[in-house]
Symmetry: C3
Subunit: 325 residues, 3 copies
């Protein structure tokens, strides 16, 4: 979508310096940008602003006489907002592909796209303008809100509820059975896995990530949560609002994560653990079963301890063994 | 399926106390249950039994005068068994969906369901009452037993043998090439990956889990093994009967796990390792290449050591660095 | 394909001892081989050569009077090369399956196979003799070279470039959005993820592995790289030529790996890290954000340190706590 530099400055609440009539229609890095691209610069890259071919650059401050700049308090945030606005596509691909299989009683709202080979089972509903790409599967009685985007080959089992503006990347599996068995002394008898999954509004779920359904309760991913690729969320887990979790992390059954947590990659969280709001765990950290982790600290290691303590232990080990080399 | 409390008590070998004529048709937790739901209570939750609306509760002992209870030695196990029985569905969806692609020489037994867009290649056989959901792929000469359930988008490569009553969750990949190359000094030449995979009866495989085919030998998952989501099983691995493995664990090539092992999440097991029967490894543990791990102990850490030793080391490190803070 | 022992000896540059007219058409291990199979033996298995039923065995040296052997400097490498040659299939399955959905402007070269239910969007091109198996998805403007093999259910997002002779296993996802957000103090605003992915020639990608597209730059997997299953490659990452990475490893955004690295399973590499050529990292190792890892050493642990140092620390801890037991 074409916008002038002046329009963008107003949209992001910034101040334009330079030619407000410059027309932009995409975004790029300083290095790759051309005259129709919007870019942004952190202070340590201000040297590059003079050299970029970008049509306009968002900065925090400073004078760039030969350049069109927008001055904004948080250039990266302003850039992200402007990019979303500039890159918004006008879709004209609504409709159900003839190779899709849609149950007669599925409720398909206005402007929905259902791609080739997708399967929508009975008792489901799909909200306005939601896009279900090729080969997705939506099981019985699942409900998907409006303005969602399911990339190809996403599998939604039955009885899953998904809010509005949810993005799910290819290969993600929502609602598979939790991993619960009772050993009878010889074999493992399956414990019922008949709970639901609720995914609230504005959640994004990465490629090949798995979110299991509750056993008898419900697995809940709250509003604004962002999950990277290849994550495992077990049965009955609750993830609080706006928490972000990096790739390959696993959360075991019945654990509760608070709001605004930041969980690194390859973290393992045991069963029935509880993380307070604002907890931060570094990559590969491990939280033991049943542990209550207090928030507001950066935690590291297995089992997790405050980063400062972890670094002291590492330094101590380093010194001990240095003598021996 | 509707059953009376008395029928359920008999099915699980328990003793009914209360109204044996009460009719139940589903299961739920104490908190969520209604009058037609069966529930169960561990002793620490006996307070909740008085408050539950469940039509019947399985307990180990005690008096609950106003309640229908079934007394059983292992309430959770009895509940799991009863749930399986109550929730068994009578299927009426046998048949091959017109959008499926089934090779003319594929042997499809009685009562099989093949969902939309599924592909069954030549030389395959699918046993009685097996369900192959939408978008699954079964490669050349693979054989699947009876009463199996393949959720959507499962991929079975060629020359894979799957037993009876096997459950495979969405996105799992069985029989991909193992990761084997020979370096010629410059590039990596692919080592042949032409072995088979054998999955025995009563195995359950989680979503997006990968089990590679043998290189020249066979990858074997024995009877009753339960695998969680996002697990990696490399070429030539053998997993012993009734072993359970939690999510995101990886087992490297040619390793052998004994029977009745319990492997936590995100465990890594090196190549040519050997775990005795009954080995227990805590989450994120690491087993070195070629290591023989004796069973009967709980092991932890990387490299794995007995839990007691691991905890002593952690405590020791904690004290050392505590002085410095 | 049938070849004589003499032909194979010449193909691999080895010396035949025995009956050069013996005809072979497959490969197997010493234990499983029959008279039409080629096998190979490392020195520690020379005892088995006398007992094998293999039609011909590749060895490094020695006398095996009753056997057909090929003497080659690197028997395993010669075997891998011969296997590739013997097992090469003559395909006769070119063509577009009627259930596939191929955009009218997609450029499909000679000898291409497009399997059932596959979707090839507009502006794409698929090179000579490439095989796209059932249920694959190739998004807008992506380009795939010649002689590639995409196993079932691979998802290629739009604007991805793939070279020649690339093998991609089932369920892999190439080009999903990177994990980038800007926190506005309350919620996470999506940072644009509009860069490309370039996969160069002769790369192999394992099942359910994810390679994210660049945010504003490009994610690059260079020539000859081999990736195992369930790997996560984040946005803007570069992986150097002929580097091999084992299963479940994760590489965070903007990291650069040199050429000829060997990365074990479940390794985690932080953001903006840089690994020199020839770096070796043991399984479950962790590289901190921004770290520059010098090559030529074997590194282990989290954070990674030289293996020797890691082992000294482990030994030291073991002794300290041994006193207390």
């Amino acid at each position: 979508m074409k916008r002038t530099a002046q329009e963008i400055a107003e949209y992001v609440g910034g101040e334009l310096r330079g030619d407000g009539a410059a027309v932009l229609d995409s975004v790029a890095s300083l290095k790759n940008a051309g005259p129709a691209d919007l870019s942004y610069a952190e202070e340590r890259f201000y040297d590059e602003v003079a050299r970029t071919r970008a049509g306009c650059v968002i900065v925090r401050s400073g004078e760039f006489p030969s350049r069109n700049v927008i001055v904004a308090r948080n250039p990266k945030l302003a850039f992200a907002r402007a990019a979303e606005w500039l890159l918004a596509e006008t879709r004209d691909d609504a409709g159900i592909h003839p190779s899709a299989t849609v149950a007669p009683d599925a409720e398909i709202a206005e402007g929905v796209k259902i791609g080739p080979g997708a399967v929508i089972e009975g008792g489901t509903s799909i909200g306005d303008r939601t896009v279900i790409e090729a080969g997705c599967f939506v099981g019985k009685r699942s409900r998907i809100g409006s303005n969602c985007l399911l990339y190809p080959r996403v599998v939604i089992y039955g009885n899953v509820e998904i809010g509005d503006r949810v993005i799910i990347h290819a290969g993600a599996v929502i609602g598979a059975d939790g991993f619960g068995f009772v050993n009878d002394g010889a074999v493992h008898v399956k414990f019922p896995q008949i709970g639901k999954v609720i995914i609230q509004d504005d959640v994004e779920i990465g490629a090949n990530t798995c979110i299991d359904r509750g056993s008898l309760e419900t697995t809940v991913i709250r509003r604004g949560v962002k999950l990277d690729n290849l994550i495992q969320i077990a049965h009955n887990v609750e993830v609080g609002e706006n928490t972000v979790i990096a790739a390959q992390t696993g959360i075991s059954g019945s654990s509760r994560l608070g709001a605004q947590c930041v969980i690194g990659g390859q973290v393992g969280i045991g069963e029935h653990a509880h993380l307070d709001d604002n907890t931060i765990i570094g990559g590969q950290g491990g939280v033991l079963n049943g542990k209550h982790v207090r928030g507001g600290e950066v935690l590291w290691g297995t089992p997790v301890r405050p980063l400062k303590e972890f670094l002291l232990q590492q330094a101590y080990l380093g010194r001990l063994t240095a003598k021996k080399r």
